[in-house]
């Protein structure tokens, strides 16, 4: 970190003094730019929120509307303090952005979370040149290379069919925001059968539907007949439901999990999933590396995740690299601040 850097880690996110705003703060601050609505990026309690227009309904569903939310069109700059801020599609989930900040101290880009693979629920990542690229690094090792999404969807469909043949429920665990809707949208092109949902997924599936994303029809498990055994049916549930008493509704089920983490066999086996489907809303290693080139940045700072490997790899290729630990600021600031209401 340098003293004249445009951004610095603070409050679990990044602080820009020139513009007096925070990006994805985890603690309440005055003015927040929120890249997307996942809980490790969007928290309630701040004074003011700036986000992509598309993200407004999702953000409201997640953190409520207690404070003013300002929606911005992608690619349309707005002024904050002495900076000019522009949001561009990040391709991570519906409404997700990366943030470009132009200032006297140069042009900085903050990735939020992003991916480069096609996703029917959101526009693709849009690269723009920056001087400094702050990149997420959730899957920052070369063992993480994603298979083509259509191939993974084929595998999911085949598994569902196999479960149907065996008269078993197919319970597919996935994150309630983003992944669940992506799967429902991907499947919509292949079948028209209804899929059962865990209750926690409903508000977000509704929000996507209202925003015009085409998905398979869905029904709530809680509204199923008492005698329903879900044999041969596909059920989507958040990972937190695994191992809960709720699972008793699905006797003899086969359990799958859709996540980039499923690329590693041990991850799947120790969680006790029968099937792991490798599909992620994050960039894999090749995408992380290629995006740095696409952004034409000469300085790269890894945030979110274990970025040391990527920093080391890019450093050896002549780029200026650093790893910032945003979480560490949380522990520091927790000591200095009163307990946050969030």
């Amino acid at each position: 970190m340098k003293s004249d850097d445009l951004l610095r880690p603070d409050a679990g996110g990044l602080y820009c003094e020139a513009g007096d705003f925070w990006i994805d703060p985890l603690q309440p601050v005055g003015r927040a730019i929120v890249t997307h609505a996942h809980a490790d990026h969007a928290r309630a309690g701040s004074g003011d929120y700036h986000t992509a227009s598309d993200n407004l309904p999702i953000l409201a569903a997640r953190i409520g509307e207690g404070a003013p939310h300002h929606g911005h069109e992608w690619g349309r700059p707005f002024e904050l303090g002495d900076t000019r801020v522009t949001l561009f599609p990040a391709g991570h989930i519906f409404g997700s952005s990366w943030v470009r900040i132009e200032s006297d101290a140069g042009t900085w880009g903050v990735s939020g979370d992003f991916k480069r693979a096609a996703d029917p629920t959101c526009p693709p990542f849009h690269p723009e040149p920056v001087d400094v690229w702050l990149t997420e690094c959730t899957f920052g090792l070369p063992v993480y290379r994603w298979p083509a999404p259509e191939q993974v969807i084929d595998e999911i469909l085949q598994w569902w069919r196999d479960c149907r043949k065996a008269n078993r429920p197919a319970v597919l665990f996935c994150y309630a925001l983003g992944k669940a809707q992506r799967i429902l949208a991907e499947l919509a092109g292949r079948t028209d059968e209804a899929v059962w949902l865990h209750g926690a997924m409903r508000p977000l599936v509704d929000a996507y539907r209202e925003a015009g994303v085409a998905m398979l029809p869905t029904r709530l498990v809680s509204e199923a007949e008492k005698a329903e055994k879900f044999a041969g049916q596909l059920v989507l549930a958040p990972p937190s439901a695994a191992g809960s008493t709720w699972m008793r509704r699905f006797p003899g089920h086969s359990a799958g999990f859709v996540s980039g983490w499923m690329r590693i066999r041990g991850n799947r086996r120790r969680r006790g999933y029968d099937r792991g489907f490798v599909m992620s809303d994050h960039a894999d290693w090749p995408a992380l590396v290629d995006t740095v080139a696409d952004m034409k940045a000469s300085r790269v700072i890894t945030i979110h995740g274990n970025g040391e490997a990527l920093a080391g790899y890019l450093g050896a290729r002549g780029l200026q690299t650093e790893s910032w630990n945003l979480r560490a600021t949380l522990a520091d600031s927790a000591k200095n601040r009163p307990a946050s209401p969030a």
Partner: protein, 536 residues
């Protein structure tokens, strides 16, 4: 190998044992016997002699994938399995091969010859496979050239599948699979049909006792039960057939030559004899009374041909506690009392190094707790309780044989180092090193990696990542904050450890969140147990 790849995927894609068994039955039914024999070999946990070293594989992986070696290392540390890391790092072949070679062809023609090649030839041969094999096949190839193929099936499960296909009792299949089973098509057919000559070296499947969790009195009438000491040695089966002595460990390894005094003593046994017992280090080589600590026996374990000095310092005996074959007749269906009766007459004809493990006499259940409590001073692990009329069964069957072990020692240690685990625990910090106080310092005394629940492992993993002090390769030192209660079976002096002591079989009992670092034990507390003659 296409079928074997499919079998592996089927086994890997279910956690249910019935599904695994039926996948294996289907495979064994359809596969060519040449291939099925190798599948049995690998699935039952046998391994080829390591053909490619891990260091070579790491170097080649870097070279093949074009990644720097430190990044291969980081990836390996994260994945926890080298064969898998390689398969994940290297780009997939552009064109998938139309057909994969047969499993037996792959093993016999492509893998086994690696051992006779020069380094350069081996590298070329391995790269050639990597260029052609897709996904799972490449992973399995890597597994086969580096060692064991662990796919979440036990030998017992493989046995069950083969027995189901053969339509016989799994005990019979287990017997056919015992010993140094060779993966030939003839042997595979014999597994299913039983036809052909039985190798005279083939041992019987071991009968394993289950831990007794309730009081012995719950077993019924004391008169129906026999008690024996539970010896702390190496379980072994001694075979005397065709004028030859063969000694098998429970892990089905031949111990021939390692315990010459026992083999010598066995020469006096009649032909067609099979004894089940425990190898122990014994004062005076069987003439005197009394076991020597396990740490003494340990000096014998790795020695293929022990020298005179070793034999004198650590004389070994076989404590015989069951007779499985007499005059060439399988006695396993006879009642225990009857087997022991025949054995006691017979062992008299053997040398000193084969002794009867005498029964512990008792009339009433309430005599046993005091006897069990005396285990440590006698140098035993506790008591065995066996039903007097029980047959000798196959594997771990509950009901007839129970082990009633003495409670382990425990101490409170401080978490000092952690490193990522392997296999199921890959990528998580699950291998821990614990320390105790020594003066003002902390000195490591034990490594342990089991005994925590998954949510505790997850919590500790997060904490370790956030509280790392230093890194030494994959090992991280952490703030000394957390205290754990550890159990262990014995303690011995050790010149190889900084602490000067070595603990036997340490494992985590529980996380003592209620204790601070100051409450943890001191090295002196452990050293005191060294003075205790009952601790080994």
């Amino acid at each position: 190998m296409k079928r074997f790849v499919r079998l592996f995927e089927a086994l890997d894609r279910t956690t249910g044992t019935n599904a695994k068994v039926s996948a294996m039955v289907e495979y064994f039914r359809e596969a060519e016997p040449e291939d099925a024999a190798w599948a049995v070999y690998f699935l039952t946990g046998q391994r080829l002699k390591r053909l490619v070293g891990t260091r070579e594989l790491r170097e080649w992986t870097g070279e093949f994938s074009g990644l720097p070696s430190w990044l291969v290392e980081d990836s390996y540390e994260h994945v926890g399995d080298l064969a898998e890391t390689m398969a994940l790092l290297a780009p997939e072949p552009d064109i998938a091969p139309a057909e994969l070679p047969a499993l037996h062809h792959m093993v016999e023609k492509c893998i086994r010859p690696l051992s006779a090649m020069t380094d350069e030839q081996r590298r070329t041969a391995v790269f050639e496979q990597w260029r052609h094999l897709p996904g799972t096949a490449r992973f399995l190839y890597n597994k086969m050239i580096t060692g064991a193929l662990r796919v979440g099936v036990s030998k017992r499960l493989v046995t069950r599948a083969l027995a189901e296909l053969a339509g016989v009792d799994p005990g019979l299949t287990a017997h056919r699979l015992m010993g140094d089973w060779q993966p030939t098509p003839e042997n595979f057919r014999r597994l299913l049909t039983g036809e052909g000559d039985h190798d005279h070296a083939t041992p019987y499947p071991f009968f394993l006792a289950s831990p007794l969790e309730a009081e012995p009195s719950t077993l019924g009438s004391a008169a129906d039960w026999r008690a024996e000491w539970k010896w702390d040695g190496i379980r072994a089966q001694l075979i005397r057939r065709a004028d030859e002595t063969i000694l098998w460990s429970r892990g089905e390894e031949r111990l021939d030559g390692r315990f010459p005094e026992i083999e010598q003593a066995a020469a006096g046994l009649p032909d067609g004899t099979v004894i089940d017992g425990e190898i122990m280090a014994w004062r005076g080589g069987g003439r005197d009374e009394g076991p020597l600590p396990f740490s003494v026996l340990q000096t014998r374990i790795g020695r293929k041909k022990p020298g005179a000095r070793t034999l004198e310092r650590a004389p070994a005996v076989l404590l015989a506690f069951d007779l499985l074959e007499y005059q060439g007749r399988d006695l396993r269906a006879c009642p225990l009392d009857r087997r022991l009766e025949i054995m006691s007459d017979m062992v008299a004809s053997a040398g000193d190094a084969i002794r009867i493990s005498e029964s512990v006499a008792f009339d009433r259940w309430d005599e046993l707790p005091a006897l069990r409590a005396s285990s440590r001073e006698r140098g035993v692990e506790g008591l065995m309780l066996k039903r007097a009329d029980s047959p000798y069964r196959v594997g771990r069957k509950r009901g007839d044989w129970w082990k009633w072990k003495v409670d382990p020692y425990t101490f409170d240690g401080i978490l000092l180092y952690a490193q990522p685990g392997h296999g199921r625990r890959s990528g998580l910090f699950t291998d821990y090193t614990f320390a105790v106080h020594s003066g003002d310092d902390l000195v490591p005394v034990a490594k342990a990696y089991s005994g925590l629940k998954q949510d505790e492992i997850d919590e500790l993993d997060r904490w370790i990542r956030a509280n790392t002090r230093e890194r030494f390769g994959p090992v991280r030192s952490v703030e000394p904050v957390h205290v754990f209660e550890l159990a262990f079976e014995g303690i011995a002096r050790s010149g190889r450890h900084k602490s000067g002591i070595a603990l036997r079989f340490p494992r985590i009992h529980r996380w003592r969140r209620d204790l601070g670092v100051g409450d943890a034990d001191r090295l002196e507390d452990l050293e005191r147990l060294l003075a205790d003659p009952s601790a080994d």
